[in-house]
Amino acid sequence: MSVSVCLRCSGLRGAVWSALRLRPPAPGSPCAAAGLRLFSAPAPGETRPSIEESTAEYKFVERLIPPSKVRHGAGKVSTGWVPPSPSPPDLPYMIRRSRMHNIPVYTDVTHGNRLITIVRKVEGDIWALEKDVKAFLKDVTGKDLPTQVNEVTMTLKVKGHFDRELKEWLLNKGF
C-alpha cells in the first residue's frame, strides 16, 4: 500500500521505471536475445488488431439534429388542418399561407378592450378583399364594421374578434 502510494509520485516513478528497465528491449540487447518482452508487446508470431475508426454509430447522433426548414404540409391530417387548393381561386386578390401552412388571420387586444382582427399576407387588389370582408361580416353580425387597409404592408384590420369566421370563410374560398 505504501509502495503503491510511492509509485504514484511522479518523481519516483521515472526512477523506478528506469531502475526496472521497463522500456521495450532494444533489438540487439541481451533481454531480447533471452526472449523477454513486455506483456503489452505482441508475441513474435501473434498479430494484434490495429486501431479502427468507425463512423457507424454517428447515425445515432445525426438523427437527433433538428431540421431548419418547415416541411411541406401533409395531405390528410386528423387535426382539422385543410391544405390550400392546388389552383389559386379566381379572385382579384390572393392570401398566402404562413410558413407553418396556416391561414394568416390573427387577433390583437390593446388597452384591454380594443379587439382587432388582422389579415396579413395579402397580394393583389386589397380593396376588393376589404369589400368582400365587409359584406361577409355584415351577413354574420349585421353591423358595418370599421376596417383599415394598409397598402404598404398589404394588411387588413377589422374591429372586433372574427378570426374563426374569417378563417373558415377563407378556407371555403380555397386560400
Binding site: P67, S68, K69, R99, V152
Partner: protein, 288 residues
C-alpha cells in the same frame, strides 16, 4: 400647332456650353424592352425551387462581357419572391440607416466638473464678500468649468434589425434594381483583356450607367476582371456574400452572374420557410 419644340432634336441643337445636371435621366439610354414571350433565344436557367401557383417567374436577358456587341445570349427565369417583391421603401430605408449607424462609435467626450483640473477649494467665503456664492471654480457656470450635459465617452450606436427585415431589404433592393432596368445578368465574368479601358467602353456602349457593381459567387475571380476593376473607382467587384443594400444603392447598376442568381435565390428564399432558431444557425442543422 406644335407648342413644345424639342431641343434634343439632334446633336447640332445642343449648345456646346450646356451644363446638364448629373442626375438627369440620359435620353440616349436605350432601354431594352422586356423579353417577349415568343423569343427564339434559349432559357439558360429556370428556377430551382417550386414557385407558388399564382406567381410566374420574371424573365430577363443574359448578356456577355466578352463581346462588346449588344446581343444577349439568352434568357433567365428569376424567382418572383426575390426579384419581384413589392417595393417596400420603408424597409429599404431602415436597412440603409442600420448599415450606416450600427458600426458607429462616437468618441466625443467632454470633461465633467469633477474631471476638470482643479476646482476642489471654495473660491471665497460663503457670506460677506459681496460676490455670488460658489463652491468650485470648475462648475458649469464658470468659464473653463466642466460641461454639465455634454457627450460622455465613446457611445456605441449598435443595434441589430431582425434577420428577416435585413433579408427583406436585400430582396426589395434586388427587385427595385430589376424594375428600374438597372439589373443585368451575365453568364460569366471572363474578359479578353485586363485593360480597364475595355470595361469602361463596354459599360458606356451598353448604357449601364455611371457606376457598376459586379457580383460573383466563389472565392476566386478571373484575373482579367480583377486587374481591370482594380484601378477603376466606379466599377467594383464583390463576392456574393458581401452583397448589401448600401452598395446596391451606391452603384447605379448591378451585374450578377447566373451562379450568383442561383446562390442568392437559395439563401434568400430559405428565410421564408425556415423555423425560428433553436440555436444559432452557424451551428450545424440537418439540412444546412
Amino acid at each position: 400647332i406644335t407648342l413644345c419644340v424639342s431641343s434634343f432634336a439632334g446633336e447640332s441643337a445642343v449648345p456646346p456650353n450646356l451644363l446638364l445636371p448629373t442626375n438627369l435621366v440620359d435620353p440616349s439610354r436605350h432601354r431594352r424592352p422586356a423579353p417577349p414571350p415568343d423569343t427564339a433565344l434559349p432559357i439558360l436557367r429556370s428556377c430551382d425551387t417550386s414557385l407558388p401557383a399564382h406567381l410566374s417567374p420574371v424573365r430577363t436577358w443574359v448578356q456577355t462581357l466578352m463581346n462588346p456587341s449588344d446581343e444577349p445570349l439568352g434568357l433567365t427565369e428569376l424567382h418572383p419572391d426575390v426579384f419581384a417583391v413589392p417595393p417596400r421603401l420603408d424597409i429599404l430605408h431602415q436597412v440603409e440607416i442600420w448599415q450606416k449607424n450600427f458600426k458607429r462609435i462616437s468618441h466625443a467626450k467632454t470633461k465633467v466638473r469633477s474631471e476638470v483640473r482643479g476646482g476642489g477649494r471654495k473660491p471665497w467665503r460663503q457670506k460677506g464678500s459681496g460676490r455670488a456664492r460658489h463652491g468650485s471654480i470648475r462648475s458649469p457656470l464658470w468659464r473653463g468649468g466642466g460641461v454639465s450635459h455634454g457627450p460622455r465617452g465613446p457611445t456605441s450606436y449598435y443595434y441589430m434589425l431582425p434577420m428577416k427585415v435585413r433579408v427583406m431589404g436585400l430582396k426589395v433592393a434586388l427587385s427595385s434594381k430589376l424594375a428600374q432596368d438597372y439589373l443585368h445578368i451575365v453568364d460569366s465574368l471572363d474578359i479578353p483583356t485586363p485593360d480597364p479601358q475595355y470595361l469602361t467602353e463596354l459599360i458606356k456602349q451598353k448604357h449601364w450607367g455611371q457606376s457598376v457593381l459586379i457580383v460573383d459567387v466563389g472565392e476566386e475571380f478571373p484575373e482579367n476582371i480583377l486587374k481591370a476593376t482594380e484601378e477603376l473607382k466606379t466599377v467594383n467587384i464583390i463576392p456574393a456574400m458581401g452583397l448589401n443594400v448600401h452598395s446596391m444603392l451606391k452603384h447605379e447598376s448591378l451585374i450578377l452572374t447566373l451562379e450568383t442568381v442561383r446562390f442568392l435565390e437559395e439563401k434568400l428564399l430559405w428565410h421564408d420557410i425556415r423555423f425560428s432558431p433553436l440555436y444559432p444557425f452557424k451551428l450545424p442543422y440537418s439540412d444546412i
